[in-house]
């Protein structure tokens, strides 16, 4: 019997794509949205919008209340100690850039920033450029064969000059949980700040940031079944206090003169200008919807789908997986077949998967690959999606070989 997703019917987008003959297996890039998110967006926009944090009028009060409710929900979702530890940004990328500017003043020439070999460009380039600006050393933690950060090497490389560690929770290419507890402990021993890129990790399971004990955690709403244009930056209160302001403008200021100004603390001090009000409100609806799910059932479904994906890939001649994926996605290439050719023929057959370097060029170069195909799963995918993918893969390989 084919594996069924009880949540599929809640996603008009996945149903519309299916009706169009498209099998969507690219949720690690961005996820479809549940009806509750569409309702929240339309509900807010249709009932009268207003700007937040600045007006005394009723619509402004209502918008601000809904906007701030999402902050509290996000704090609960991540088990932050308080709502003020959540800053709204445009996404993971902006959150990381904020950190790279906001923490710049704490770093002195010759000190080290440590990242890993599997980082998405979003968690590489802001640090690389910061290192160039400040004369810092960027240290890259190597991986083991499975695709996890190598802890023995990490223990050697994280040292007294390390001031900041920034690593992914779950790799967008290799699909493995990274050993955060151990890595964060190594960094803390050196008194280094810790940043976790949760863009992929936040989507799978629930995470307790107080238990994890990182200084900063970042993720994107659009991968978490919410609208695009919103991201979260969690910071422990003490860590947030060390951030320097980075974007300047409306609502982040306490007092302004022509030549001097004083700024608000986090979170509002880091939310200059009008935020994505409707998207933030709809993210609240996404979190609410997610909260209502049976998490054990979601985890079981995702694990079964993933096991089926791996089994199907491994059963095919010449298919080589990148690392040993544990959940959510699998990247692969096929011996003797160019991944661009395979991508072309999969898309001809209505299979929406990602091909290329997956915004991790140094990782791909390190693996000696020019690119790979990535299949990624959302909770709305089902066994038939996988069957359609596999039959398209077989057709494509037959043509190409």
């Amino acid at each position: 019997m084919s594996l069924i997703s009880p949540w599929r019917a809640d996603f008009p987008g996945i149903l519309a794509l299916a009706a169009e003959g498209q099998t969507y297996l690219d949720s690690a890039a961005t996820a479809q949205k549940p009806q509750a998110v569409l309702d929240a967006l339309l509900g807010y926009l249709a009932s009268g919008v207003a700007n937040v944090h600045r007006a005394q009028h009723l619509p402004g009060e209502r918008a601000t209340r809904a906007f701030e409710a999402t902050r509290s929900q996000a704090a609960q979702w991540l088990n932050a100690a308080r709502a003020e530890e959540i800053i709204f940004t445009r996404g993971t990328t902006e959150s990381l850039n904020l950190l790279a500017y906001g923490l710049e003043h704490l770093l002195q020439p010759g000190e080290q920033i440590v990242i890993s070999a599997l980082e998405h460009h979003a968690n590489l380039l802001p640090w690389q450029q910061l290192a160039k600006r400040r004369g810092l050393e960027l240290v890259i933690l190597p991986l083991d064969d499975a695709g996890s950060i190598d802890l023995q090497q990490a223990a050697r490389l994280i040292g007294t000059r390390t001031r900041l560690l920034a690593v992914s929770q779950l790799s967008n290419v290799l699909g493995r949980w990274q050993p955060l507890d151990e890595l964060l402990a190594l960094a803390r021993t050196q008194g280094a700040l810790t940043v976790v890129d949760g863009a992929q990790g936040a989507v799978h399971g629930r995470h307790d940031l107080q238990a994890l004990g990182c200084d900063f955690y970042v993720c994107s709403s659009h991968k978490l079944y919410g609208p695009d244009g919103v991201g979260l930056l969690y910071g422990r209160r003490e860590a947030l206090g060390q951030l320097q302001h980075w974007q300047f403008g409306g609502e982040m200021v306490l007092d302004a003169d022509y030549h001097e100004a004083r700024f608000r603390p986090a979170p509002l001090g880091f939310e200059a200008g009008t935020p994505a009000v409707s998207a933030v409100i709809a993210l609240g609806a996404a979190l609410n919807w997610l909260n209502g799910l049976d998490h054990a059932a979601v985890a079981r479904h995702e694990a079964t789908l993933h096991a089926e994906l791996l089994a199907g890939l491994q059963a095919r001649d010449g298919v080589r997986l990148l690392g040993q994926p544990q959940l959510a996605l699998a990247s692969f290439c096929v011996d003797g077949v160019h991944n661009a050719d395979l991508a072309h023929l999969l898309s001809e057959q209505g299979i929406a998967v990602r091909a290329g370097h997956h915004c991790a060029m140094p990782l791909m170069k390190g693996l000696g690959l020019s690119g790979a195909i990535r299949v990624s799963l959302g909770l709305y995918n089902d066994g038939e999606d996988l069957q359609r993918f596999f039959s398209a893969l077989d057709n494509a390989l037959e043509l190409l070989r």
């Binding site: 160019h338 661009a340 050719d341 072309h344 023929l345 001809e348 290329g356 690119g371 057709n395 043509l399």
Partner: protein
């Protein structure tokens, strides 16, 4: 302006295609017809950047006419290069500038290969071709 003979041939072949499988087979057959480039020609100087696959494009000039040669490490892209060259190879520079290449791929039923989300590199090839054609002799 009448269509070059190779272009007429491509048009007839692709118009008769039923479905994606035939189209893919045909593209691969056309790709086999590309004159191979030597190792000395597959160098960075001739690389078209902005493609996820490796693509090389070389323009040779005889008088006002341009002769293009191209290749790629990806087979379907070689086919796309072949039908592109079929349309433009040997044209005088002035005529090359006025060929509507988007329309050409439309006529072949290959318009999706030019969509802006594609990273296959065909768009980058077209741009590079225009640059090469625009260079003074």
């Amino acid at each position: 302006m009448s269509l070059p003979v190779a272009a007429q041939e491509a048009l007839a072949a692709f118009a008769a295609c039923l479905g994606w499988e035939q189209r893919a087979r045909l593209l691969m057959q056309w790709g086999e017809r590309l004159a191979p480039l030597s190792d000395a020609e597959r160098v960075d100087e001739h690389r078209v950047h902005g493609c996820e696959s490796l693509v090389w494009l070389i323009a040779e000039r005889s008088g006002e006419h341009l002769h293009f040669r191209a290749s790629s490490d990806a087979r379907l892209l070689r086919g796309l290069l072949a039908v592109l060259l079929a349309r433009v190879d040997g044209l005088p520079r002035a005529e090359l500038a006025s060929v509507d290449l988007v329309d050409w791929f439309n006529q072949l039923g290959l318009q999706r290969q030019l969509s802006p989300s594609r990273s296959n590199g065909l768009n980058a090839v077209l741009q590079r071709m225009r640059e090469l054609a625009g260079r003074p002799a």
